[in-house]
Amino acid sequence: MMIREDMEILSHELVADKTYKMTLKGDMPSHVIQPGQFVHILIDSSDSLRRPISIADVDLTSGTLTILYKVLGKGTASMAEKPVGEHLDVLGPGGNGYPIEEVSASRALLVGGGIGVPPLYYLAKQLKEKGIDVTTVLGFQHADAVFFEDEFRELGEVIVATNDGSYGSKGFVTDILPSLDGRFDTYFSCGPAVMLKAVSETLDDFDGYLSIEERLGCGVGACFACVVPAPEGDAKGYRKICRDGPVFRTGEVIL
């Protein structure tokens, strides 16, 4: 069940180029069901829309959840200025995440691009806990944008690619994938639309899960702002990213 609460900012730090990590304390963590779910944040009361940010980690003991976000526009720029101790109006947890309970594979590949990396972290931890082997491929634009490499490394092998080759191997995450052939049975991906499309095409022999972004309105399934078309023949014809997603099984929606 989604709740709305004022969560306290417990920590807030720059972890890479324009990329911040924030931990928030409240009741919300106990409501999180799956990795890949998101929180919908009203950054300033004068904003008209909330901003969706993926849950990157959950700590039930301390009652905190972690998010990572990149400063892109007005809202995220304002969020970057919030001091520790202040409260944020958070609605969540929203959507359907990665259905780890269903995963029967024993070796998982995680493919994350840019600010799509965060939700894969909580996923990796959960997979690891289930005894599933995790290999992670992370793509960033350049060396300064890289974050969470070490965190993923504690959970399995990590390969990093940067577009300009300033860190790790040069190129896109899809350039790495062929070399991993035979090392996984299923995959999980999150990142920009072009990357998801390329990944799902490269890995079209596999079933996997993709987390998709779109501009949200309500974030709760009521406004139809966030629909993505389903393949021909689907009874409903569409899916809502905020409610049915943001995570979809490959083939469930048209990218």
Partner: protein
């Protein structure tokens, strides 16, 4: 009769607060947040004759004190709405107002005829003002004769009172209101969104895939208040007011301007509890401004 009650054609409202069409789906999602029986009424998302898939995404963008949307009337069509969506709302002790849209007068009539037969649908809201679809919708809302024609024909088939939802994208709102009143409208609903646009400066293209979208939110409230104030003086049917309502002060302002009830749209996105909170806080606001009943407040600025 309690202090919060309002009687309108077809609608006995326990309070004057209801969610606006398109901002509350068919209620299901919000029933997770609070008991929908608290609401004065529920205006459901637009129904058309057949399934519509709406516009490409992005469909929303934020603006100063407002937002743009171009959903494009996505809905499963009137038959499936009746079968799949409306039964859920019969569980609540709250009248349903069905928002009816179409590309042709025939489609409006077909949808109205079907949906007005459902027992908990107590009124129709004729959406002649949707700016986000290529055909139908807004041209009915900008031409008084077309507006009167669709109203007249829908009135002939509807089993329940018909509220016509006016578009603010017109030179003369009063003549639109009078035209539909004369054609038999039982009430008015004002306002729908104003047509707007925002550009993505990096892509150098409109943010909204449909290019234009409907502007809602507090930004448009002064326009809505002006239109309701003007129309209230010239028509005898009641008005459901909307546009940027976020606080009980906004509710009071709409009632004083001439609205008999108030619908809340985009504010549900900021705060899914908004309708419930406004209902709870309204008695205090009435007190603050020296009123003891809602009925007293309606049109209060005209005395």
């Amino acid at each position: 009769m309690t202090a919060m009650q309002v009687s309108l054609p077809g609608l006995e409202l326990k309070n004057p607060i209801m969610p606006a069409s398109g901002c509350f789906g068919f209620g299901k999602e919000f029933s997770d947040f609070y008991d929908l029986s608290l609401l004065g009424a529920i205006i459901i998302k637009a129904a058309t004759g057949n399934t519509r898939y709406g516009n490409p995404t992005p469909r929303v963008a934020e603006t100063s004190s407002g937002m743009l949307n171009a959903i494009g009337l996505q809905n499963p069509g009137v038959d499936r709405i009746i079968q799949e969506e409306l039964p859920f709302l019969s569980e609540f002790d709250t009248p349903v107002i069905a928002n009816v849209a179409g590309s042709t007068v025939k489609e409006y009539v077909e949808v109205a005829g079907k949906i007005s037969q459902i027992s908990h649908v107590r009124a129709l809201e004729l959406n002649i003002s949707c700016p986000n679809v290529k055909e139908g919708g807004v041209q009915f809302g900008t031409d008084p004769e077309l507006a009167a024609e669709v109203t007249r024909q829908v009135k002939q088939v509807s089993k329940v009172p018909v509220y016509v939802k006016l578009s603010p994208n017109v030179t003369d709102i009063v003549s639109m209101a009078k035209a539909v009143e004369e054609a038999g409208a039982d009430g008015l609903s004002m306002i729908n969104t104003l047509t707007g646009m925002r550009l993505d400066l990096d892509r150098k293209q409109p943010i909204i895939a449909n290019q234009t979208g409907g502007l809602s939110g507090p930004a448009i409230k002064p326009i809505a208040i002006r239109m309701i104030y003007q129309v209230y003086q010239e028509v005898d049917v009641p008005i459901i007011g909307m546009g940027g309502v976020e606080t009980t002060d906004d509710v009071v302002e709409y009632l004083l301007a001439g609205a008999s009830a108030v619908a809340i749209g985009s504010a549900n996105f900021k705060n899914p509890f908004i309708c419930k909170e406004l209902i709870e806080e309204l008695p205090a606001a009435m007190d603050r401004y020296g009123f003891t009943t809602i009925e007293e407040m309606i049109g209060g600025a005209h005395r």
